[in-house]
Amino acid sequence: MSLLDIRDLQVAFDTRAGVVQAVNGVNLRVERGETMALVGESGSGKSVTAYAILRLLAKPAGRISGGQVLFQGTDLVQLDERAIRAIRGNRIAMIFQEPLAALNPVLSIGRQITEAIRLHRDASPRAAWEQAVELLDRVQIPSPRQRAQDYPHQLSGGMRQRAMIAIALACEPDLLIADEPTTALDVTTQAQILALLKQLQLSTGMGLLLITHDLGVVAEVADRAAVMYAGRVVEEGGVNALFANPAHPYTQGLLASLQMDRLRAGERLPEIAGTVPSLLDLPEGCAFAPRCGQAHRLCRAESPRLGPAGTAQRVACFFPMAEPVARSLAA
């Protein structure tokens, strides 16, 4: 049984302009001790997928309109409010992009960790405070006993993110969802936080679902990655295989756009032509077809399903890049 197994997840938002299909049949698995990166542009549905796991979609507009989110075999979509609350912060925790916004400005760091502990554990305030200090030590905050008294605005950006990680780890979750955890940090701090996350994962064995648009971060810390486009996972696989042999034209375009060192002076930057389709009005068939160089009549008529490509990869494309036409037609 996988730690997290998302099957055909659909999320819709009711807006004034109509129903937005933000997530449109996502399949995703995270194993224990594994780092799974969820990659995609803004609006590709990666954050919405994360919020849907915890059932924290903005009400009443957002709703899970189909699919399952199996966490250790339990479908979180079916749980009642009480049961999902017992999972949040306890079995599945989350950290955010902007720690200054995600920490309560008028409560001390120690108090916020203490509260997270006492929400799910029977601990006296004293014992919880001691645990909070220990947690701050574990996320490598110097003189944790003093820092526990501090308020978020008194800490540096990196320290704040460490404090938020400490809050998330308060109940030793099995799964940590990190939504762009390093995007708001400068590069050196970013590397430190990623190393910390990696190290904490090794010591606790938790699964890590890392949401990012930064392929550099993916290469650095992820074991596997899933690429999202317009609310769908278009390709998924081990990071090495994925980066070496991207099978989906979109993945390939993304990777190509990074290879600026191969650029000759005066040459244009590589780009993926066109724009992301509106989620209000997705094209028939493959959502990437309008921007795809290899698109075929079939691509505009039918939506490809995620299927095996090579040994460690799955791709949602009729004509994957590695071995075109022949195999996909057979399938």
Partner: protein, 300 residues
Amino acid sequence: MKAAAISVSPLSGVLSVGGPARRGWAFAQRLLRNRSALIGLVLLAAVLALATAGRWLFPGDPWEMAGAPMLWPGQEADHPLGTDFMGRDLATGLVSGAGVSLLIGLVSTVLAALVGTAVGALGGYYRGWVDAALMRVTEVFQTVPKFVLAVVLVAIFKPSVGTVVLAIGAVSWPPTARLVRSEFLALREREFVLAARTLGMGDARLILTQILPNALPPVVALASLSVATAIQTEASLAFLGLGDPNVMSWGTIIGGGREQVIDAWYICGLPGAAIVLTVLGFNLLGEGLNDVLNPHLRER
């Protein structure tokens, strides 16, 4: 979302160092450096001294006929502030009135703040029909003239310190409710609330431990101003004879002395000045608190 971005954490910048004790100290220093807060606090300290130490300096029953009627202040050493038209000692009356004003002003404001905060918090947090229902009730209270409603409430129930407190509390909670509601509407969209939700917090805990502490500073500033209004209302009720008949309030003295306002203006003048100074004290303190607690005005 725009409102949410604007309402920067009110306390965080103010209370810049360390633990609760150090925080409190830093806040007190900042408050004392604010001129209007300082003057307000001095005035209020004087009123408080009058209410407490005054009882010891001018003992006795304020209703008792203590000397000749209509003695001017300074005319007789036994009655330094003179007597009213029935020979009751004015100094004793003023001391009694200070206690009554502070008690009624503070208790009714606490009551109004509690009701207002509860109504505003629930409306702003839940929105939808809860909010609509609560706001309609609030509007009903806001459309009825406050003082008339207070008069009616006290007149229906027997006038006593308790009913006066309830009546003043009942007419003065709507502004707090509106303020807290708007704070909650903005704060509930902030990311730290979502983050607290991902930790598994339920509504009650989110409201009480996460949002409310962020919404309180403006409520504190408003409360200081409402104490001033409550004291005026109390004096007005007592002036109309709707005060507790067993306690001597400033309003009672003014009401009693209004016939002699030409011949013996001090009977109305002394408690009148006391009301002015007390109300001014609370207003200045409220303004000072507002400056200190509001991060956008603080820099001026």
